[in-house]
Amino acid sequence: MSAIVETPVPTKVNFLTAIKDAIAEEMERNPDMLCMGEDIGVLGGAFGVTEGLHERYGKQRVYDMPISEAAIVGVGVGAAMNGKTIMCEMQFIDFISCGFDQIVNMAATFHYRTAGDVNLPMVIRGPAGAYGGGGPYHSQMNEAWFCNSPGLKVVCPSTPYDAKGMMKAALRDGNPVVFYEIKELYRRRDIEEELPTEDYIVPLGQAAVRREGADVTLVSYGQNVYQCLSAAELLKEQDGIEAEVIDIRSMVPFDEETVFNSLAKTNRVVVVNEAPMTCGFAGEIVSRISAKAFDLLDAPPMRVTRADTPVPWVKPLELEVLPSVEKVYQAALQTVRF
């Protein structure tokens, strides 16, 4: 390529494009990389994440899989242990339940059980999250299942920059990574951003401070980060409260330090995610804080999560069970006023 072509043309990209580009660039960079999933070939995937890959790399590297999630993962594991790097797409992350055993008992444990003989460079990714009216099976955030299954990394970016950098990091990680893509962010205009033209990664396991503040820490990931940012604005405008907003980005590995550092300032915390409350990762964060940063707490650490129900389909019901800016705002107020 000539220098001219390489001159960066600054354009903002959305979340979907960031992920798409990350995968495309890794496919180009790594001839041993394969993609497996339903309808990811000619169609280019339900959301178009793999558009163009089949044309460019052919059916030897891009597999239109049968509707067989266990085979998608299991075949991926086999190819990964035999020298390939695998991207497995779940058409919706909700369907990961159908390939569950292959993930938690085969992929997660292979490196451990073979005392390091087998590495599995593979990413199991898919569109996730609610608020889109998808109903019980097109809205899930089921990351807790995998956080409780040792041997898997579990991540969930919230910005195009992170989505691209973390996807690349995941595809180079060498461990099986379950990658949650919030589909409501895919085409969200107000988060589009310019991305570096040169190759970069965002290491897995590092939290990011999205907003600084000294009064209360709002910890979350995925689309709830934006609810926290809006709540922070409300708190500032209506109550003069300065909230610090942390986007953990990665559940496994989890960056405790960044959260504890913030608490050292604020001494108050609200954890927000859209997974069911019981045994969700919000609770994991709260218990790590309570156990390891107890002295930093001036008020009870609070959780704002999805209610312990399926995600109902019709809007009024769906919104009822999910976190909202208002719910985060109220929880923060309560914490600060404690």
Partner: protein, 387 residues
């Protein structure tokens, strides 16, 4: 009917054995046939209306059109008894109100859901059986003998087997029809469920709607043989193939499977060959034109089930050419047809359903926290007792 063959009379004559013996459809009266035609129109018109409403932006949720596949639903349901069960999936919306519809379209006692209930579901109103807590095709009702499925393809087949098992234990002589796309037969649970049903000779009939495409994936990428009925051979059960464009052939093959099941000889697969008219869902219409060759689509849509049936009825002398030409809905896209292309009673019936839905109410937010658990009966009856 013997295992591993395409028909009910394999020993005699293999794949086309059905021809040499009287077909169940031969017994259908003129009235039956005209009713079947009307049901075809009804299924088509319902789909057409939903497409129009969706385009007008009046509906939420994805629309998986059953256009060009209606003969599978109408033909498979017509011969069932009230006590028989069904589990339709995403592409089978008309099945919910077509079940037991012979008992009278507006008969509240028929064992099927009303057009109003289905429209209420589509419009997301509390009047839907599931109070609109789950998407379009995820509805069911026990007393209507309809099993509510999840999105997870083929996931309802083991449930159907369990329903059949308990009916058999209770001495209820029912069969259970499950509907599945050809792509879904690659799911592990399909194998586990059909294998179990075969071991126990359960009256579970798995309808495979082979519309040649699973979303963007052609059948050959999902199955090693182009006849999905071949999957039956692995379970030592009958695998029948029906012309999915021909109501009568679907009726015949399904009734053969039903008789086989009722006589205690166990499950069958019935593959109905058809073709998906539009995109996978309405969101996919444009892309589908890219991944599906124009010729293939034209070819696949060249035998509209309404046209095929009219031709047969004319041959049978049940319709005059003029009568057949009266409501020319066949061969037209949703965008091309008007109400005039359909019998008025069909238009009227669907209109009633939609009005019922529009007059309905959205569920109240508080409902969202209800029905996670049934109040424990252990507490209520510490000594147990009948549930």
């Amino acid at each position: 009917m013997s295992p591993n063959t395409g028909t009910a009379t394999a020993e005699k004559s293999g794949k086309d054995g059905a021809k040499v013996q009287p077909r169940p459809s031969d017994a259908l009266t003129k009235e039956d046939c005209l009713e079947l035609l009307k049901e075809l129109y009804l299924a088509r018109y319902f789909d057409v209306r939903l497409i129009k409403e969706k385009k007008r932006g009046r509906l939420r949720g994805t629309l998986y059109s059953s256009h060009n596949q209606e003969a599978i639903l109408v033909g498979s349901l017509y011969g069932l008894r009230s006590e028989d069960w069904i589990s339709p999936i995403h592409r089978d919306m008309p099945a919910f109100f077509l079940k037991d519809i012979r008992k009278g379209w507006r008969n509240p006692d028929r064992v099927g859901l009303s057009i109003g209930e289905i429209c209420a579901q589509v419009w997301g109103k509390v009047e839907s059986p599931g109070r609109a807590r789950d998407n379009w095709s995820h509805i069911g009702k026990r007393d209507k003998k309809i099993i509510c499925s999840t999105s997870m393809l083929a996931g309802t087949i083991p449930v159907a087997a369990g329903v059949a098992l308990s009916d058999r234990l209770n001495g209820v002589d029912s069969v259970v029809l499950t509907y599945n796309g050809e792509g879904s037969t690659a799911q592990g649970v399909f194998h586990e469920a059909v294998n179990f049903a075969a071991v126990h000779k359960l009256p579970v009939i798995t309808i495979i709607e082979n519309n040649q495409w699973a979303y963007g994936t052609p059948v050959e990428m999902g199955s090693p043989s182009k006849d999905l009925a071949d999957r039956a051979k692995g379970y030592n059960i009958p695998g029948l193939i029906a012309d999915g464009q021909d109501v009568f052939d679907v009726y015949d093959k399904v009734m053969q499977a039903v008789e086989f099941a009722r006589s205690g000889r166990g499950p069958s697969l019935v593959e109905c060959k058809s073709f998906r008219a539009y995109g996978h869902g309405d969101h996919d219409d444009d892309r589908a034109n890219k991944y599906r060759p124009k010729e293939e689509v034209e070819q696949g849509r060249s035998r509209d089930p309404i046209a095929v049936m009219k031709a047969t009825l004319v041959k049978k002398g049940y319709l005059t050419k003029e009568e057949a030409a009266q409501y020319p809905a066949e061969g037209k896209n949703a965008s091309e047809v008007t109400d005039e292309d359909f019998p008025p009673e069909v238009v009227e019936y669907v209109k009633e359903g939609i009005e019922f839905a529009l007059a309905g109410e959205l569920p109240a937010a508080e409902e969202a926290l209800q029905w996670v658990f049934v109040d424990s009966q252990a507490q209520a009856y510490p000594q147990g007792g009948a549930r």
